[in-house]
């Protein structure tokens, strides 16, 4: 019986799918049965990286669904400053699966919190989106009225969207001790609020946490909007800091690993979720797509991710672009170390050549 590895598709083999492909042409995604057409209503949510996806979707003429667009007379600059259109509604960054689930529950009037409004130097802040307005709100009345309208816009969003692109960003979060309410930022970290260890507690999610929260979210969404599909991705952006007593790199790897594994489990379990490999696309290039700080993703990186996105979910699949011979040779020279994984890869390659 022939080894099953010998019948692998080219994209399953490192040499063909990665080594032989120019960095900016690697697409780690399988063609998806989910098709996005110009009529598909796409929404976005997630971490900072999701913002870049929002921008790209909007700029490529897709039907980027925004249910909280802001007054039409706002200038482009004001829209950016007040976070209109940054995401599909003005929820700001949603770093964790717990936050996304909580947003759904709040929008559906199934969850409330006793967290008081935050005060910052700039004004009154909504603890659930503390940086949504550059100068805060002018009054409690304005904030609460805006929050009410915002949650209505979120509800409408979930009811109307066809596709939600959600970028899982972090596993670390801060929660209110007594009821588990998740906050997007630690209080007292520059966006208002006051840190009180008796009230707030640090939490680092496990795979089980993320799977459970996302599953519940997907169930909610499915009930509310049966045609909706969630495209899950993992943000490639490393942690700025960790609350765990260890190196931030360790925490970054932990976080991304948990999120990636959880995403895998989720899409295996749920019919209304698919995975899109943006983390892999960015990190496959080493540091090529990162700015000097090692965190910020360059525009070229985002463009690559979006090319893959369109290739995966739309009809315009770009052709693979072979690497330049000189580059390929250089990489061959570097690949001299031997390990079990690499041995397996070499065997696969040899078998493929002998076919």
């Amino acid at each position: 019986m022939q080894s099953p590895y010998l019948s692998l598709e080219p994209n399953q083999r490192w040499r063909d799918a990665v080594e032989a492909v120019q960095c900016d042409a690697i697409n780690p995604n399988q063609p998806s049965s989910l098709r996005i057409t110009p009529d598909t209503k796409i929404a976005t949510a997630g971490s900072c990286f999701a913002q870049r996806i929002s921008e790209a979707l909007a700029s490529h003429g897709f039907n980027y669904l925004v249910t909280e667009a802001g007054p039409p007379w706002l200038s482009a600059q004001q829209k950016v400053a007040y976070n209109y259109g940054t995401f599909s509604a003005r929820y700001g960054n949603i770093y964790t699966s717990a936050q996304l689930l909580q947003l759904m529950e709040r929008a559906m009037h199934q969850r409330d919190s006793d967290e008081p409004l935050w005060h910052s130097k700039l004004g009154l802040c909504d603890p659930f989106r503390p940086r949504i307005q550059p100068e805060g709100f002018d009054s409690e009345e304005e904030l609460l009225a805006d929050r009410k309208m915002h949650l209505a816009a979120v509800r409408k969003l979930f009811e109307e969207l066809d596709v939600l692109v959600f970028t899982l960003g972090l596993t670390e979060s801060w929660r209110i001790r007594h009821d588990g309410t998740v906050l997007p930022m630690c209080p007292g970290s520059g966006a208002g609020g006051e840190y009180d260890p008796s009230r707030y507690v640090f939490h680092n999610s496990t795979v089980a946490d993320v799977v459970s929260e996302m599953t519940r979210f997907l169930d909610y969404l499915g009930d509310l909007n049966p045609r909706a599909t969630v495209i899950l991705t993992v943000s490639p952006v490393p942690l700025v800091a960790t609350m765990e007593e260890r190196h931030v790199l360790q925490s970054t790897i932990y976080s991304k690993s948990v999120l990636r594994v959880a995403a895998e489990e989720i899409v295996r379990q749920k019919n209304n979720a698919v995975y899109f490999a943006s983390y892999e696309t960015i990190t496959a290039s080493g540091n090529l797509y990162f700015e000097q700080d090692g965190r910020s993703v360059k525009q070229e990186g985002v463009a690559h991710v979006m090319r893959n996105f369109f290739a995966t979910f739309t009809e315009q699949m770009p052709a693979l672009k072979p690497r330049e011979p000189r580059e390929s040779a250089a990489i061959d020279q570097l690949s001299t170390s031997k390990c079990d994984e690499e041995a397996l890869a070499a065997a696969i390659a040899l078998a493929h050549l002998n076919k």
Partner: protein
């Protein structure tokens, strides 16, 4: 001639320029209480005028407004306020026809079209605003379900953009010499929603129309203060306890009626009488206040000798009430400081005696008595002599606080120098708190006394029977990097007119040679060195 005819006097003109809301004022004349004077409103209706059209970014002023100002004979062909001219012919003409001999009172009623057709329309069906606390005492309906909230700060930015041309234009009029400008508040909307939609071609409920108007009025009030423009806000006078317009002020479903005009004139008079002298130097006070309050924010406070400390004489007992500082034996006994024009001669000699007075006053107080040194020791920083108002009090006449009693800024010292008292008597001042009923004590001040006080804490009035000559002075904060505009509050010429004349500009920072340098005026027009900002023409001297 079969009818008896008598003149009831010459009315003080008030000029009103603006949109259709000016029309109701046409031909209205108002009698001040106790026969103190007559006010006649002259109006010029400019159909369709908007805030943007008052002035364009390149500095072009609305030709319609220029036409109106010329029609009122307020400006020359070259756009200069006529009353500022020392030209004999112009002055005689002005005196003959009762035209402005002091800065004319000009009220603008502009912006309502912007409120209705731009701002209200911008909310459309989907948006609402939430007014910040303190902007109105009335509780208007909350935002309706389903409407997004436009952040009030963003909405305010739109208001600012729309009204930029109006304030740019008003500033230009001030530079031309029309210094006494007033802006009328936006009227209270009251038409029914269906009527509004029919008239304007779009729907907007009354609650949101009211909120937009209130937001604009709040903005206008703030900008007027910044620009030294009186803001005539009649909103609170014409609405009921729920914030709706009282029916008696309605006219045609849109404009306000004659009863509202009366309220406007009353508020205008309040505005004139409460003219705030520090407006001229508003930015300086802003800077001084910021410095004075800096320590409370954990920042560096005033630099001794440069900035200005927060003064609170009454609270700190820095100068216990009753203490008088002797300023010497020199008296002003021979000054005819309030010059009354006499005869046909006109020109610089009209105000020359007043300037002479200022110079002698400065020499007396600052050079011979080192007044600034004394004040600097008390205040913790060197102040700048800001203004002086000589007065000869007579029983029952003007109290020191008849005008400018509100909003005394941090860092302002006020002082009264008693120069002379009639028949060797003592000059008596009543010292009270801001509650008029609260009287602390009476000061008996012999000639040569100086009383320094914090006008935010203490109120001084002249007791009945006191007679003599005194000088009411203000010492402002020293803000060396900002120029000082000197306002000499002289004799009043008409109720509530504290600005008999002022010197356009002066050097802010005193020097060792001239510690009162602020008094030395820099001519406003280089080619007319003798010209003053205001003139003392045809006034009733105290």
């Amino acid at each position: 001639m079969s009818e008896e005819l008598s003149e009831i006097g010459r009315a003080k003109p008030v000029f009103l320029i603006g949109d259709s809301h000016t029309q109701i004022f046409d031909g209205r004349i108002y009698q001040l209480a106790d026969q103190a004077g007559i006010i006649a409103v002259s109006r010029d209706y400019i159909p369709g005028i908007t805030a943007q059209s008052v002035s364009t970014p390149d500095g072009s002023v609305s030709s319609e407004i220029v036409r109106a100002l010329k029609r009122f004979d307020l400006i020359t062909e070259s756009g200069v306020a006529k009353y500022t001219l020392l030209d004999k012919e112009e002055v005689l003409k002005a005196m003959a026809h009762g035209g402005a001999q002091t800065p004319p009172f000009c009220i603008f009623h502009i912006g309502e079209i912007n409120v209705r057709q731009q701002l209200a329309r911008s909310l459309g069906a989907d948006f609402d605003i939430v007014l910040p606390p303190g902007l109105t005492p009335y509780k208007y309906p909350a935002a309706a379900e389903g409407r997004q909230i436009s952040p009030f700060r963003v909405f305010s930015q739109i208001i600012e953009t729309i009204f930029e041309g109006l304030f740019r234009g008003l500033a230009q009029f001030k530079r031309a010499g029309l210094t006494r400008l007033f802006l009328h508040s936006m009227p209270v909307p009251y038409s029914g929603d269906e009527v509004f939609e029919k008239q304007n071609g779009f729907a907007l409920d009354i609650a949101r129309r009211i909120k937009v108007s209130l937001a604009v009025n709040a903005f206008l009030a703030r900008k007027c203060k910044e620009h030294g423009i009186g803001f005539i806000d009649i909103w609170g006078d014409i609405v009921d306890e729920t914030g709706k317009l009282q029916p008696k002020f309605e006219l045609d479903g849109f404009h306000l009626g004659a009863d509202a005009c009366l309220v406007t004139v009353k508020r205008f008079l309040d505005c004139v009488r409460n003219s705030q002298i520090h407006v001229t130097n508003g930015p300086r006070y802003g800077a001084a206040r910021d410095r004075a309050e800096a320590p409370a924010r954990g920042e560096a406070g005033p630099i001794p000798g440069e900035g200005y400390a927060v003064l609170n004489f009454a609270g700190l007992q820095a100068l216990p009430i009753g203490d008088l500082i002797p300023i010497g034996e020199k008296r002003f006994t021979d000054i005819d400081w309030a010059y009354r024009p006499d005869g046909a001669e006109t020109g610089a000699e009209w105000f020359a005696p007043s300037l002479t007075f200022v110079e002698r006053l400065a020499a007396l107080l600052f050079e011979e008595n080192a007044l600034l040194d004394s004040l600097a020791a008390m205040a913790g920083g060197r102040p700048v002599f800001y203004s002086a108002r000589p007065f000869r009090p007579r029983a029952g006449e003007m109290a020191l606080d008849d005008w400018a009693r509100d909003a005394w800024p941090i860092g302002l010292m006020r002082a009264i120098a008693v120069i002379d008292a009639a028949d060797g008597e003592e000059f008596r001042l009543s010292v009270g708190g801001w509650n008029a009923a609260e009287k602390k004590t009476t000061l008996s001040c012999p000639p040569g006394s100086l009383i320094v006080y914090d006008p935010r804490q203490v109120r001084l009035t002249i007791e009945d029977g006191s007679r003599g000559l005194a000088i009411d002075m203000h010492f402002g904060p020293a803000v060396p990097e900002m120029s000082l505009q000197v306002v000499w509050n002289g004799a009043n010429c008409w109720p509530g007119d504290p600005f008999i004349f002022s010197l356009r500009e002066a050097v802010a920072a005193p020097t060792p040679e001239r510690p009162y340098l602020a008094l030395l005026a820099v001519p406003y027009w280089e080619d007319q060195p003798a010209a003053l900002w205001h003139q003392t023409v045809g006034t009733d001297a105290v």
